[in-house]
């Protein structure tokens, strides 16, 4: 019986150690944020929208409602051609596409747009120039939005530039 007690002691001791190591005590950490920010282009004033049309040689106002449960990070817009019909559209609605063609001088715009710090919601409204001498056709309008924690939401719109 002596050995048995010894073994038992070892075992119980070991288990206590394991319990101590595993830190079963109450959770001190505050809950982490796991919510993605949102890009809303549904409102009537939002522009462009899926299958929307831009005009060469004109300015347009890029408008969208950005929101997050805690704090917005930054937003970036990327307009690139889709003459080859590769796709970055995230919308369910499909748009009429022009036939596949070779790019000559496609429009390319990559631009960060600052969001003031500390905001949960932001009405994005920024002017973008579309040069007059670019190839018309199918384009992608990608919006990448992060929140402060680093969650990113991507919205890819199919648009046309005429």
């Amino acid at each position: 019986m002596r050995i048995n007690v010894k073994k038992l002691n070892l075992l119980v001791g070991g288990l206590f150690l394991a319990a101590a190591l595993s830190n079963c005590s109450k959770d001190k950490a505050e809950p982490i944020d796991t919510t993605y920010p949102e890009i809303n282009t549904d409102s009537p004033t939002a522009f462009p929208k899926q299958c929307g049309v831009l005009k060469r040689g004109e300015k347009f106002s890029f408008k969208a409602l950005l929101s997050d449960n805690k704090e917005l990070g930054s937003v970036s817009v990327d307009i690139h051609h889709n003459f080859d019909h590769h796709t970055h559209s995230t919308e369910l609605q499909e748009c009429d596409m022009a036939p596949v063609k070779q790019a000559v001088k496609p429009f390319l715009l990559i631009k960060n747009i600052a969001i003031p710090a500390g905001l949960k919601s932001y009405e994005l409204n920024t002017e973008i120039d579309v040069p007059a001498d670019i190839d018309p056709g199918d384009y992608h309008f990608m919006i990448r939005l992060t929140d402060k924690e680093g969650w990113q939401t991507i919205k890819g719109l199919s648009i046309k530039i005429n």
Partner: protein, 747 residues
């Protein structure tokens, strides 16, 4: 949810004493004393089958190793054969995989993977492109004799990278004297219509032996229980629920020859493992893509772009020499890992819209990595008194070059060397102490890389175009001193293991030098050339009790990293270097991890056994930008229930088994950007097998049904988790092994 996990673990820990203590008190009368020493067993068993000896050897190995180890043999692999080696091993507690497609996966030990798990093949570190989540392990699972998995930090023995654990792949045993034989394996799988075969021929006279193997596997697109998947909300319709372009081929050749003497043993091992496989065409990397569905769906076996081709060549010499109390081991090796990833050119960011025909790089070659490694290991094992003293020296030289039209990691060369001493001290038959010390040195030189296209700087007007220097020439030197201390205590049915140690890992070129857009993740990955070598402190404990009819094993661990290297998704976008993508910046943070595994085995009847294994893991970053978050790819808690029936039928059906697994995986809500929460699921697998004996010829037949209920589930650690792609549907596997002996007369 976190609370649930904690409660779950607390429950497990609290319930164990009840399991253990009660029989410990009442079970005295039928206690059998087990011999735990190396001495030959006194009560000689009536029949000594080979398997029994092997099991005993594994048992001894476990009892004399302070780290947590799992050992499985080729029989286990045959019985649980998955699409790749790691998938076959995933049944073991604490082992998970990061998988892509049906034929590629990489190991995850207690939630850590990539360069934190070291794979040893034929005594030498297997060097591929371990950092890539979409890269598999270039290993032929048919060629293995035994796999030993070390869960826990083992840097003191293996050097850098063994920070989470080691997967030690051992070849098949050397053939018996004056024998000639081999085996033929054939394999078929229903889900991806795989067929394959592996043929082995080996033989030995007195001292000289050879072992040759040829393996071929060919599989089609795999099937998932879903018709339409949504890649970032972009709907992709699947034809016949087949994942477009995930077919693959694999060939492997191995040849070993050598001399086996009384005191001298030397063998040469030559192997070449080649694989070609497609990536899911609608989401190369993780971006939604329009593809020519007609072209892809014409055949489920063709491999179109995007695809990867990997060739791994090895030439290894292993020599062992015994003199007096010394045993010397010398390993020399050369390996070359050549990886190419093919994809149609699609301009991203500032790349020109049309691929220039003046480029020397083929327009379909997206990436190429060519790695050549020369290794040298020398060890001396010395037995004196109660000590087993091992000293060793290892050195490695690496040369890495890149090619392709995208950039992620610069070319580099690296030289590293380490020395270690390890003492195993046997205090008495029950008690062993372990102590080890190791010093490592490593020097890395990265080469400058300049973009082939110009980027537009918008910050200053007028806008200027320039070719960006992605990576500068950089030299870094690292030193590291690590230690380990452990003990084993085996008293009759009780066994205890404890180990504490410090491990390390040198930063890899990608962590130091990445400066490019990862077009598959919409991220701009930025290395930090000032990163320190990563350190880890780990405590491991293992408590076991083995009775006649049942056994229990609890293995908790506790791990702390003062400077875990982590790719941190920031809130910033970079419109110059990053082409508008989110900045993912390598950083170091304090990380705390703990968890463990619990295994229970119970013999219900002579032929009926049941087992339970559960695993739990918790990780948290204690500092830095992601303070409070977990680490990426943290596996959720899971439990595996098994019921096995091994009836003794007749002489024609031997070693028959019917086995059912139920795996229950909890949801994972403990995530970090850019992950997604994953719901829990339950899966049923079946395994049936037997040895058919005709005359004196056995045929080993194993059948499996994986995901029997065709359950639609997401695996949190799968590469395709981010695009919501469910795992493989039902898969029926048949594997037949025909061992043979050719009568051999000594000339």
């Amino acid at each position: 949810m976190k609370k649930f996990y904690r409660l779950f673990l607390c429950f497990l820990i609290c319930s164990v004493p009840i399991f253990i203590c009660s029989p410990a008190v009442f079970g005295q009368s039928h206690q059998t004393v087990q011999d735990t020493t190396l001495k030959p067993q006194k009560k000689a068993p009536k029949q000594l089958k080979e398997v029994i000896i092997k099991d005993r050897r594994q048992q001894l190995r476990k009892e004399e190793e302070a780290l947590n180890i799992e050992i499985v043999n080729s029989g286990f692999i045959q019985r649980n054969l998955g699409g790749s080696l790691m998938k076959s091993l995933e049944r073991l507690p604490g082992i998970k995989t990061i998988g892509i497609g049906s034929g590629q996966s990489k190991p995850l030990i207690r939630g850590l993977g990539f360069n934190r798990v070291l794979v040893v093949d034929q005594g030498l570190k297997h060097e591929g492109q371990q950092w890539g989540a979409d890269h598999g392990l270039e290993i032929d699972q048919f060629a293995l004799g035994e796999v030993e998995l070390i869960k826990g930090a083992a840097s003191f023995r293996y050097g850098s990278d063994a920070i989470a654990g080691v997967i030690d792949l051992k070849p098949q045993s050397i053939p018996a004297k004056n024998s000639l034989g081999g085996s033929v394996n054939v394999l078929g799988k229903s889900n991806n219509k795989l067929y394959g075969s592996s043929v082995n021929l080996n033989g030995r006279q007195e001292n000289w032996f050879f072992d040759a193997r040829l393996t071929y596997q060919n599989y089609g697109d795999y099937r998932v229980p879903i018709d339409t998947i949504f890649v970032y909300d972009y709907a992709v319709k699947l034809q016949d629920r087949q994942l477009r372009n995930t077919a693959g081929r694999e060939t492997a050749i191995h040849y070993t020859t050598g001399y086996i003497g009384q005191r001298f043993k030397s063998l040469v091992y030559l192997s070449n493992v080649y694989s070609k496989s497609g990536f899911f065409a609608n989401a190369h990397g993780l971006e939604p893509r329009n593809v020519d569905e007609e072209m892809h769906d014409a055949s489920s076996r063709d491999i179109q772009m995007p695809s990867q081709e990997v060739n791994h060549f090895k030439l290894i010499n292993r020599t062992e020499y015994r003199v007096n109390a010394h045993q010397f081991f010398l390993d020399l090796g050369y390996q070359r890992n050549f990886r190419q990833e093919f994809s149609q050119y699609v301009n991203h960011g500032f790349m020109p819209p049309v691929y220039p025909d003046t480029m020397s790089i083929a327009p379909n070659l997206e990436r190429e990595f060519d790695k050549q490694v020369y290794s040298f290991n020398l060890r001396d094992k010395l037995l004196f008194g109660k000590h087993e003293f091992t000293t060793g020296l290892s050195a490695e030289y690496q040369q890495n070059t890149i090619n392709g039209w995208t950039f992620l990691v610069p070319s580099f060369k690296q030289v590293s060397a380490g020395i270690f001493a390890y003492d195993k001290y046997r205090i008495n038959d029950d008690f062993l102490l372990h102590g080890a010390l190791r010093y490592d040195f490593s020097h890395l030189h990265m080469f400058k890389y300049t973009d082939w296209f110009a980027s537009k700087r918008t910050a200053n007007a007028p806008a200027a175009f320039e070719k960006l220097v992605r990576s500068e020439d950089l030299s870094r030197t690292f030193h590291s001193l690590v230690w380990s201390a452990g003990l084993n205590y085996n008293l009759e049915q009780f066994s205890l293991k404890a180990n504490v140690g410090k491990s390390f890992r040198m930063p890899i070129a990608k962590e130091l030098g990445a400066n490019g857009v990862n077009y598959h993740y919409f991220s701009f990955e930025k290395g930090d050339p000032r990163l320190d070598a990563e350190h880890s402190y780990q405590a491991d404990l293992s408590l076991g009790w083995t009775a006649d009819k049942w056994s229990v094993l609890l293995s908790p661990f506790y791990n702390y990293f003062p400077n875990y290297i982590y790719l941190n998704p920031t809130s910033r976008h970079d419109d110059y270097y990053g082409a508008g993508n989110q900045v993912f910046q390598y950083a170091q943070s304090k990380v705390l991890r703990y968890g463990g595994e619990l295994q229970l085995k119970l013999k219900l009847l002579k032929t009926l056994t049941t087992s339970f294994s559960g695993e739990y893991l918790y990780a948290r970053q204690l500092s830095g930008d992601k303070k409070g978050y977990t680490l990426p790819f943290s596996p959720p808690a899971s439990a595996l229930f098994n019921l096995s029936w091994s009836p003794v039928l007749n002489e024609h059906f031997q070693k028959t088994y019917f086995s059912i697994d139920y795996r229950l995986t909890s949801s994972q809500h403990n995530i970090v950007p850019p992950e997604k929460k994953t719901p829990g699921y339950g899966l049923i697998d079946l395994q049936i097998g037997t040895e058919l004996w005709f005359q004196k010829q056995p045929v080993l037949v194993s059948l499996q049904a994986q995901n029997l209920m065709n359950t639609r589930y997401l695996n949190h650690t799968s590469f395709y988790r981010l695009i919501g792609l469910p795992e493989s549907g039902r898969n029926l596997i048949i594997s037949i092994k025909l061992p043979f002996n050719i009568p051999f007369h000594k000339s």
